[in-house]
Every structure is written in structure tokens, then in C-alpha cells.
């Protein structure tokens, strides 16, 4: 017997996500991921002042806005040939690190945990009816206390961001040339104190919590594998210090590691609610036949690639176990611990620089008449690319491929499924009236649909479109 199950909204993600699975004899035989919202940032950016793209694009996403300011500022620097001083780079990377802390803390406690524990007794978090519930009460109570504490700890991460970049979400401090904030001793030591508190929580609470979840849900080390295709644009890779360096741009296809080449990035709209109009422009069409998502499809060498913490940990050689849901959750927590340590080491460099009285230089910039720039960097959820062109001192084209496009994009064809779709297919569903497996697998990817729904710009020379 074959049944179709719809989970809409798949809550505890950023934005709106619908998952549809076809289940036959208690096994998922088909899956579709639908990003159900659209705003059209690429269309909005056309004609705008290039200086404004940083504050503009970060508003794509409320939970990972710094990711977009981090990448868009570097795309602008490339277009304008601006060189960033070492100190400014340290501070910007540190700010980006704070966004990692906020995202991973909130994703693990607020978005992931309610799939495994009933949660603290506050609405809308507490879930008395949680099925497949396995954690003993004393451990559950400890994890629930961590949840409450994580609310506060994750805010601390945003406070670090605000101290150095003005506010969060939607910071002001990341700009062309690096950052705008002046350091002083108060800021340095306040940031250090908050970072230590966060690190303490990760080491003493979060790691214990994730290992307990992993222990009681061992079967999730075999559920939700997307295959062995991983991609990263590199993260903390501009450092020679080995305690800071993390992962260089790299790819793994069917388990084979290879050097990254941006020319292999490609995108398509076969099953997305977009189409090419007679002029060759890409426009949205919610009624396009056969299409089922506002997310487009991204491919690398024609392959669907998983991006995110698991991809990075595998690509840098630190994680050698599996590639299923629990591996993904575990890697996110191991990574937040690692990023907190990396940040402590970057802070040392910032301090050294401060002690030797290096200060930031602030300049004015002129917008070029014609230019193009791009930045491909890994950020919280994985590989994020911004490509822009400037004509007549205004933005002409702007294209964005977010991590959630890689992970949650629809299939390109029946033979070329999306990453999350692949991870779902083949999974056994124990109780068809309460398919908890689906949510657990999908959330392990940390979907962000506010980020994921983008048209791609036309006339973009660097990208060959494959529109069939």
C-alpha cells in the first residue's frame, strides 16, 4: 500500500518548508522538498547603489544575516579591488564566528532537540505527545535545563556580534574594507568574557547533551544519509596558525576528495517555480507545470552536493564516521566547539595587534563604473556564493546560491534528486500516523528557506545555465 504524507509546515526551520513523502510498505520511496515562500532579492538589487548591498542582502535572512554581510562585503571588495588589513580581517572573521555560535546553539537546542525530548514546560516548546521518546527522565530534565540556559547563551553570541558590529540580527559593522568598529580594551575584554561563558557551556553542557541524544538514538547514525558528495568553499582558511585554520575550498564526489573549482558550479530551474521568458530573462511562475519549489537546483560537476558542518568536518579530515542524520547533528555541535576555540585564538591575534598599537584605517571608496566581483565562502549552513556585476555605478546583476539551495533544492530530473530528498528516500517509517523520522532527518540539515528562495540572474557570464 502506498500513501502520500505531507508535513507542512515543517516547523523549527527558518522560513516555510513543506516535505512530501511517498511511503510504501513503511518505506519512503519518493520525497519532495518545497520551499514555499519567495521575495526575489536578485530582482530588487538591480539598479541599487553597490554600497548598499551589504546591509540589503543580510536582510535575506534573520538567523544567519551576518553570513550574507560577510560574503557580500567580500564580493564588493573583489569588484572594487579593495585590500583588507589583517586586523580588519581578524575582527570580521571573529564577528562571523559569533554568528556561528548563535546559529549552532539555537539550531541544536531550539530546532533539533524537540524532536528527541519533550522539552521544558513552556509554550510553544513543550510537547507531551512526542512519539518515539526514549530519553530517561533524569537526562531529559538536565537537557531541558540546558535548553533554558541556551536561550541566554545564544543571546550572548549575538551580544558579541553587537559589541563589534552594532546590532544583531542585521549588523552594521561589516563593511567594505572589513569592519567599522574601533576597538578598545573594554570591548576586547567584554567579548572575551562572553566568549568564555559560551565555551564553558558548550564544553560542559552541549557536548554531554548531544552525546546522550546520540546514545539513545543510535539508529539515526544509519538514517538520512545523503551519499558521499560534499562541498565547501573554505572556512578560516586564510590563517597559517594551525589552531585557527579549519577547511580549505574542497569537494568530495562519491567519496573521492578533490580540489575545488568554481567553474563546476551550475544551477537549473527545471523543477522550480521559475521560467525563461521570451527575452531570455528568468521570471517567477508559481503555476509552472511539474515544478514544486521556489528553491532552485544547484549542481557541482552535475552532482547534488551536501554542504554544512558535516561536509566541512569530513572534508578537513576530522570526522571519519558516517554521513547520516546523527552524524550531521554531532558534527554541528563538534563544530561549534571548534569555532569557539578558533575564536579564542583569533582574539589572541586581535589582542596582540591591539597591544602593539595597530589600529584600523578607515577609507572612503568610489564605486567603479563597470566591475564584477564574487565571493564564495563557507558560512554557518555551508557554502554561500554571491556574484555581482556593476554597470554605470549601479548593481546590474546579483546572484546568490545559499547553502540551503545546495541541500534543499528540488530534483533536477527523476535521476538527479536533491540532497535532502535523497536522504529521505529509503528510510523506514515505523508509525505512519506519526512519521517522526522525516522531521529528524530534514532538520539535521538545518534548512533555512528565507535564504533559499532565489531566482538566478540572467546574463551572468560566469555561470553556464543548464535549462532544459
Amino acid at each position: 500500500m502506498s500513501v502520500k504524507l505531507n508535513i507542512d509546515p515543517l516547523t523549527r526551520v527558518s522560513g516555510f518548508l513543506k516535505i512530501e513523502v511517498q511511503v510504501e510498505n513503511n518505506k519512503i520511496i519518493d520525497a519532495k522538498c518545497t520551499g514555499s515562500m519567495f521575495r526575489g532579492f536578485e530582482l530588487m538589487l538591480k539598479g541599487r547603489n553597490p554600497f548598499d548591498v551589504i546591509y540589503f542582502t543580510e536582510r535575506i535572512c534573520g538567523i544567519c544575516s551576518t553570513a550574507h554581510s560577510y560574503v557580500s562585503s567580500q564580493a564588493m571588495e573583489k569588484a572594487m579591488e579593495v585590500k583588507v588589513s589583517q586586523l580588519a580581517m581578524y575582527i570580521r572573521d571573529f564577528i562571523h564566528g559569533a554568528e556561528f555560535l548563535q546559529n549552532h546553539l539555537r539550531h541544536f537546542y531550539l530546532y533539533t532537540l524537540p524532536d528527541y525530548v519533550r522539552g521544558p514546560k513552556i509554550n510553544p516548546v513543550y510537547n507531551e505527545d512526542l512519539s518515539d521518546y526514549r530519553i530517561p527522565e533524569n537526562i531529559e530534565q538536565r537537557i531541558n535545563r540546558s535548553y533554558i540556559r541556551a536561550l541566554e547563551i545564544s543571546s550572548l553570541a549575538h551580544q558579541i556580534l553587537a559589541l563589534l558590529a552594532g546590532k544583531a540580527p542585521h549588523n552594521h559593522g561589516i563593511f567594505i574594507g572589513g569592519v567599522t568598529s574601533n576597538l578598545d580594551a573594554n570591548i576586547i575584554f567584554t567579548v572575551e568574557e562572553k566568549l568564555k561563558t559560551i565555551s564553558g557551556f558548550i564544553e560542559n553542557n552541549m557536548l554531554k547533551d548531544v552525546y546522550d541524544i546520540a546514545e539513545y538514538y543510535k539508529d539515526y547514525f544509519t538514517k538520512g544519509s545523503s551519499g558521499k558528495n560534499f562541498l565547501s568553499y573554505g572556512l578560516f582558511d586564510n590563517y597559517i596558525e594551525k589552531e585557527i585554520f579549519y577547511v580549505k575550498p574542497s569537494a568530495m564526489i562519491k567519496g573521492q576528495l578533490e580540489a575545488f573549482n568554481a567553474d563546476y558550479i551550475d544551477e537549473s530551474i527545471n523543477n522550480s517555480w521559475y521560467e525563461k521568458d521570451p527575452k531570455g530573462d528568468i521570471t517567477d511562475n508559481r503555476n509552472k507545470e511539474g515544478a514544486y519549489s521556489f528553491v532552485k537546483t544547484a549542481r557541482y560537476k552535475g552532482e547534488a552536493m551536501e554542504v554544512g558542518p558535516l561536509a566541512r568536518m569530513v572534508l578537513c579530515g576530522e570526522y571519519k564516521k558516517g554521513n547520516a542524520s546523527m552524524d550531521r547533528i554531532l558534527c554541528r555541535v563538534l563544530e561549534v566547539n571548534k569555532v569557539a576555540m578558533i575564536m579564542q585564538n583569533i582574539l589572541k591575534l586581535i589582542k596582540e595587534s591591539y597591544i602593539s598599537a595597530n589600529s584600523l584605517e578607515f577609507k572612503t571608496y568610489e564605486i567603479p563604473n563597470i566591475a564584477k566581483g564574487e565571493a564564495l565562502r563557507d558560512t554557518t549552513r555551508g557554502a554561500l556564493g554571491h556574484w555581482l556585476t556593476i554597470e554605470n555605478k549601479a548593481i546590474n546583476t546579483y546572484n546568490i546560491i545559499t547553502p540551503s539551495v545546495w541541500n534543499l533544492g528540488p530534483s533536477e530530473s527523476p535521476k538527479s534528486l536533491g540532497v535532502v530528498e535523497k536522504a529521505l528516500i529509503g528510510t523506514s517509517i515505523e508509525n505512519i500516523s506519526s512519521p517522526v523520522e522525516v522531521g529528524r532527518i530534514v532538520r539535521s540539515f538545518d534548512p533555512c528557506i528565507s535564504c533559499a528562495t532565489h531566482i538566478h540572474g540572467n546574463n551572468f557570464k560566469d555561470i553556464e545555465y543548464s535549462i532544459i
Partner: protein
């Protein structure tokens, strides 16, 4: 000069008042003077940054807010239930006394299909229709964030998803506007605090609480001295008045200079960048360029 001092003092008083109020709430709860009100936090077409901003609340903290001030029954980003059951929580709340908070703009394109929020009995539910349904029954309605309050970035030219603000969409109800990109959690928690205790709110002609939006950024800007002496910053990063770099402080109503952001960690002018007018109608289009040299 006297007038200026007066406005600064008035804003300081606002801070004291709201803090005191949060303490009073604890007391009131103990004495059983009022019950927590149900609250639907509805994400429409936007970045979901206002719920993230609420999680950053510190006066009081969000955990306290959720435990003691409201009973949040529906919120897409943090609720444990999912799918049809989640939407049923939304529907169940409509039969109670509740506050409706909307963040994000209302997308009208293709009859709302650019912002589908649920599938209910195999029917797609659009944000537009769900908001209409809830607004009829809500005791209070709050448009939180610039997209809900004025259309914001979701409605930026050429407005590809046909977005409008909540007050443009729901015309027959009183809607409190709490603009900002995102809305400062201080403003949301403070406003809800007023509603559940006094049930009163002093608002301006645009339905913004005067407590938070009564003065301009410029009124209480710590760089006002530079402005008076006409000493202007030349680039982002300088410490002087940023009017000539495009600062929108003089035309932007919000108490950022007083309450700042993220537990008073800092604010945009504090880290040497101009105010971009994110609480204003017309943001972003009419506030651009954000930065000019």
C-alpha cells in the same frame, strides 16, 4: 538647550518605567491579578528575523517572557509540533482571547501563493488568508518589524512578490506598528507588557507606541555635540556626526540611543555607521543610499 535636555531626560525615564513594569508583572502574577494572554506569533513573508530578535530579549529575557507574560501557542521557528497539528494549534487559539503578532509583509501575488504557510486537509493555506482569519478574532494586533509595519524590504522595488504591510491589508482593525529591521525586542516585550497589564498604550498618529518611537534618533544621539558644532565624519569608522555619510537619525523615530541593541551592547552609530532609518515608512527604498561619500 533646555528643550534638548528635557527630551533626553524624558527618554531616560522611559527606560526606568519599562524596567519597573517588568518587575511589576512578576508581582502581579503572584497576586493573581491577571492571566497570561495567548499569543500567536505569525511569520509572513520576510526573513524571520524578528523572532530571532525576540530570542535576544534581555528586559526581561525571552525565557521569562514566555513563562510569565504570554502563552505563545503558535510560532513557526520554535514550536515543537509540526505539519497539520501545528496549524491546528493556530486554529484552536482563534477561539480564545489572544494577541496576534505578525512579522513579515503580506504577499498578495497569485492570490497569496508566494507565501504558503501550511497544508490543511490537502488545501494550501496562504499567509494572507491565515492572517485575515486571525485578525478578525484577535484582541490586539501587532505589526512587528518594518515588513509588517510598512512593507519593508519584502516590498522593496520592484516588489516581486506583491507585498504590502499589515495595516494596508487589514484596514478595519486597530494595528499597533512596531517597526524596525528587526524590531528591537525591548519594544516588543515592552508593548506586550503594557497591553497585558494596563491594556493601554500611548500611540502616535501612525499607531506607534510613544514610549519607544516618541523621539528621533537625533534627539538623543551622543554625537549631537558634533552636529551642533558642524563637525562631520568623513568615512564609516570616524567618531563624528555621520549626517553627511547619509545618517537618517534626524528623521527616524526610535529610542536606539537609549536602549541600544542586544542587552545594550552597542548600536549602529556606536560602531561608527549611520542610522539607515529602518523604523521608517519607505525603508529601504526611500532611505537609500544607506551610505554615501
Amino acid at each position: 538647550m533646555d528643550n534638548k535636555n528635557k527630551s533626553c531626560n524624558a527618554m531616560d525615564e522611559v527606560v526606568v518605567k519599562v524596567k519597573k513594569k517588568c518587575r511589576e508583572i512578576t508581582k502581579d502574577l503572584e497576586e493573581g491579578k491577571y492571566q497570561k494572554m495567548n499569543l500567536i506569533w505569525f511569520e509572513a513573508n520576510g526573513c524571520s528575523g524578528n523572532i530571532i530578535s525576540l530570542l535576544n530579549a534581555s528586559d526581561p529575557e525571552v525565557g521569562y517572557f514566555l513563562k510569565n507574560m504570554v502563552n505563545m501557542t503558535y510560532e513557526n521557528s520554535i514550536m515543537s509540533t509540526q505539519g497539520q497539528k501545528a496549524y491546528e494549534k493556530f486554529l484552536d487559539t482563534l477561539n480564545t482571547e489572544f494577541i496576534l503578532v505578525v512579522e513579515g509583509a503580506v504577499s498578495l501575488k497569485d492570490n497569496g501563493k508566494y507565501n504558503v504557510v501550511a497544508t490543511y486537509n490537502d488545501i494550501e493555506i496562504t499567509a494572507k488568508d491565515a492572517i485575515k482569519l486571525a485578525s478578525r478574532k484577535a484582541k490586539y494586533i501587532l505589526a512587528v518589524g518594518n515588513c509588517a509595519a510598512y512593507g519593508g524590504i519584502s516590498a522593496a522595488v520592484p516588489n516581486p512578490s506583491g507585498c504590502i504591510s499589515l495595516p494596508e491589508y487589514i484596514k478595519d482593525k486597530w494595528i499597533i506598528r512596531l517597526p524596525g529591521c528587526p524590531c528591537n525586542p525591548y519594544w516588543v516585550v515592552g508593548t506586550i507588557g503594557e497591553l497585558i497589564t494596563r491594556g493601554l498604550l500611548e500611540i502616535d498618529k501612525d499607531n506607534r507606541p510613544i514610549e519607544f518611537y516618541g523621539n528621533t534618533i537625533h534627539d538623543a544621539c551622543p554625537r549631537r555635540g558634533y552636529f551642533e558644532k558642524k563637525i562631520f565624519a568623513k568615512t564609516l569608522g570616524d567618531k563624528e556626526c555621520m549626517l553627511r555619510l547619509g545618517c537618517r537619525g534626524p528623521v527616524t523615530r526610535a529610542n536606539c540611543p537609549i536602549v541600544e541593541w542586544n542587552d545594550r551592547s552597542s548600536w549602529p552609530i556606536g560602531i561608527n555607521t549611520p542610522c539607515i532609518g529602518c523604523t521608517n515608512p519607505g525603508f529601504p527604498d526611500k532611505m537609500e543610499p544607506f551610505v554615501r561619500y
